[in-house]
Amino acid sequence: MAGTNPGFDRDHLAAIVESSEDGIVSKTLDGTVQSWNPAAERIFGYTAEEMIGGSIFRLIPPDLHDEEHRILHEISLGHRVAHYETERIRKDGRRVLISLTVSPIWNEEGTLIGAASVKRDVTAQRNLEEQLRQAQKLEALGQLAGGVAHDFNNILTIISGFTAFLSRAIPPDSPGRPDLIGIENATERATQLTQQLLAFARHQTAQVEVIDLVAMVNETAVLLRRVLGDHIRLEVRPSGAPVWVRADPGQISQVLINLAVNARDAMSGGGTLTIAAFDDAAADCAFLTVRDTGHGMDETTREQLFDRFFTTKQPGQGTGLGLTTVASIVRAAGGRVEVESAPGKGAVFRISLPRARPAGQVDGTPEAIELRGTETVLVVDDETGAAALAARTLLDYGYSVIQATGPGAAMIAFAQRASPVDLVVTDLVMPGLNGRGLVEQLRVHEPGLAVLYVSGHADKLIGDMQSHVGDAPVIAKPFTPTQLARAVRQTLNDRNAQPGQSGGTSPAISTSRNPR
């Protein structure tokens, strides 16, 4: 039972009210404020002098006046209203979400004379919950999109592969050529769409290559104009010469789009977005800058800018993940992001990336490798279409191919083979025995067997394993026939380059990488 010690005077009670983190307010039954503690001052921005004697309706949005009348009516009946969540308006006009408990106040004669309310600002807590819900929703959507896109990716690999075969077989002047081009174009668009879905789901494997930042900016500018809308002018100021970096082009596009969206939201009244790409030979760095003329940021916002789930946008309008993604992509590419901004002065995001040599200048590029071969390759994939595509590709490049749908079939084919197998190209993830288990079984019989893993889940492999599992390279799905042929040739060349290797003597499976 609640109560107070007889020695506990009004001063003690007043001290508790004064020090409370919750706003404690008393009012008459018509809503005239009688007392107003410091926490109420912090929550609503009004001082006690401004509020005492005034109406509590000053805090209540017009559309919620009826609600306050109902609360006062309940109090007039002697009832208590507990943990009621509603909105109030601060002195600066911002709405705050509060949790309200209102209790009747009785005098010593037992007459109802007013109401005492305890108000807790739950805006931050609810925003956080909303952000978490958004994040969970995104996560679920991402998983769904990623799963569908992954399966679709495999199918597209097969479609584009067989289309490539048809393209080679049909003469340029064939009446069917335009139809084929239509299929190729549609497949290309579908591939891009699945890449976007996979990127959204964070399932996409970074496909790092040497790219020209200037070309990337020019290509992405078309899309950015649509993202920005008519009220924002886009200026692209690329350097006159190519700017080479080693990065995933899809991810660089994503960086540009995320920064553009961020800038657009900072320029709701219109403005200019300027993108520049240039390099600095002395610093051995390439730079990408994105400058807006928006409302800018104060120091507190700048400091939290790249924090996950931090957003200055209204609930439902931003996830707080856009700039986090930018930062993680740039970090993964070995670069840095810096921000310059001040309120009213716009913002500049400056990305620095290590410079790279253009592809044509790199020695021993895959383009220089002779792709054809006559070796015997065992192709294993539990998806019949994928196995057939890989087999067909390698047959076209001159290899002898044994095709197996799954690890069991592969072991049977291996046992029944007429000639030695030089290379096994196997899916990593298969029902029953996985690719590594299969390779262990095969290498008991042919220790020097070269291996190339194929994976539709390369994004789930960690670190170096995205390129190698044990001593064997990994090629990520989807791949073109040429990419597969290149990887096969490279793997066989590496195997042949090992000392004493023409059949090999390496152990079942080692954790070391081949010298490359």
Binding site: T405, G406, P407, I412, F414, A415, Q416, G432, G437
Partner: protein, 245 residues
């Protein structure tokens, strides 16, 4: 697990993992003991069994390469033994019988093991009587001794629509029925105990079988009105256990 010259049957429903593990063990133990083995199966089960042998640490590649393990496609062999679409002893002996004899002669082994699912193909095609005939042919072949046979049927004992009258002679053609797994056993026992009481300790049945499998057949005769409910409940328990497991 398998006594010499047994003729066992596994009703695996759609639990391919159960079948794969049981057959992997059956064939693997034989290979390890130096016995030759014959697998007469469709491509999916054949590949799965070879895979299981690899997972179990056997060496199926050497076994296949040396001829200790012989793989025959079930549908092809079944087609070879049919004469005008009908099973005959002569057709069976000329195909399956010859395969068994050839393997035994080549390896000169006193014992061998075989897995067969031609009977399962016939059952699936609604030809239960032909499946029973084929079981009889196998039993006739087994009288020569030295061969242990494992038969696989894609039959779900929890299926309320299962034709037990057609099934019973098939089960009776075997020396024993293998367990459908611990999840099946506990789920069925629990459902029967909950809904109709514990049931008999040893339900009637000519062929030795685990108690849960015997109860699955018993409940249909003893409680025809409630059998569907019991089996549905058992299936629910089983799927819950498998998910939790």
């Amino acid at each position: 697990m398998h006594s010499p010259c047994s003729h066992v049957v596994q009703l695996y429903g759609d639990d391919a993992l159960l079948l794969r593990q049981q057959v992997g063990q059956f064939i693997g133990e034989g290979l390890a003991a130096g016995e030759p083995a014959l697998i007469i199966a469709g491509p999916r089960n054949r590949d799965a069994f070879v895979c299981q042998l690899g997972e179990d640490g056997r060496d199926p590649i050497t076994a296949i390469r040396t001829g200790q393990l012989v793989l025959i496609d079930a549908a092809t062999l079944l087609g070879q033994m049919m004469v005008d679409g009908k099973l005959t002893w002569e057709g069976f002996d000329r195909s399956a019988g010859a395969a068994v004899r050839e393997l035994r002669a080549r390896t000169a082994a006193p014992r061998m093991r075989a897995y067969g699912e031609m009977v399962g193909i016939l059952w699936d095609a609604g030809r239960a009587a032909d499946a029973a005939t084929l079981e009889d042919y196998w039993n006739r072949l087994l009288t020569d001794g030295g061969v242990s046979l494992f038969c696989g049927y894609p039959i779900d004992l929890m299926d309320p629509a299962l034709d037990t009258d057609a099934l019973q002679p098939l089960i009776d053609a075997h020396t024993h029925l293998l367990s459908s797994g611990p999840a099946f056993d506990s789920a069925l026992t629990r459902a029967i105990t909950t809904l109709v009481g514990p049931g008999p300790d040893t339900p009637d049945g000519a062929t030795p079988m685990p108690r849960a499998e015997a109860l699955a057949l018993w409940v249909r005769k003893a409680h025809p009105d409630r059998a569907a409910e019991v089996l549905a409940c058992a299936r629910q328990y089983q799927s819950t256990q498998l998910r939790a497991g």
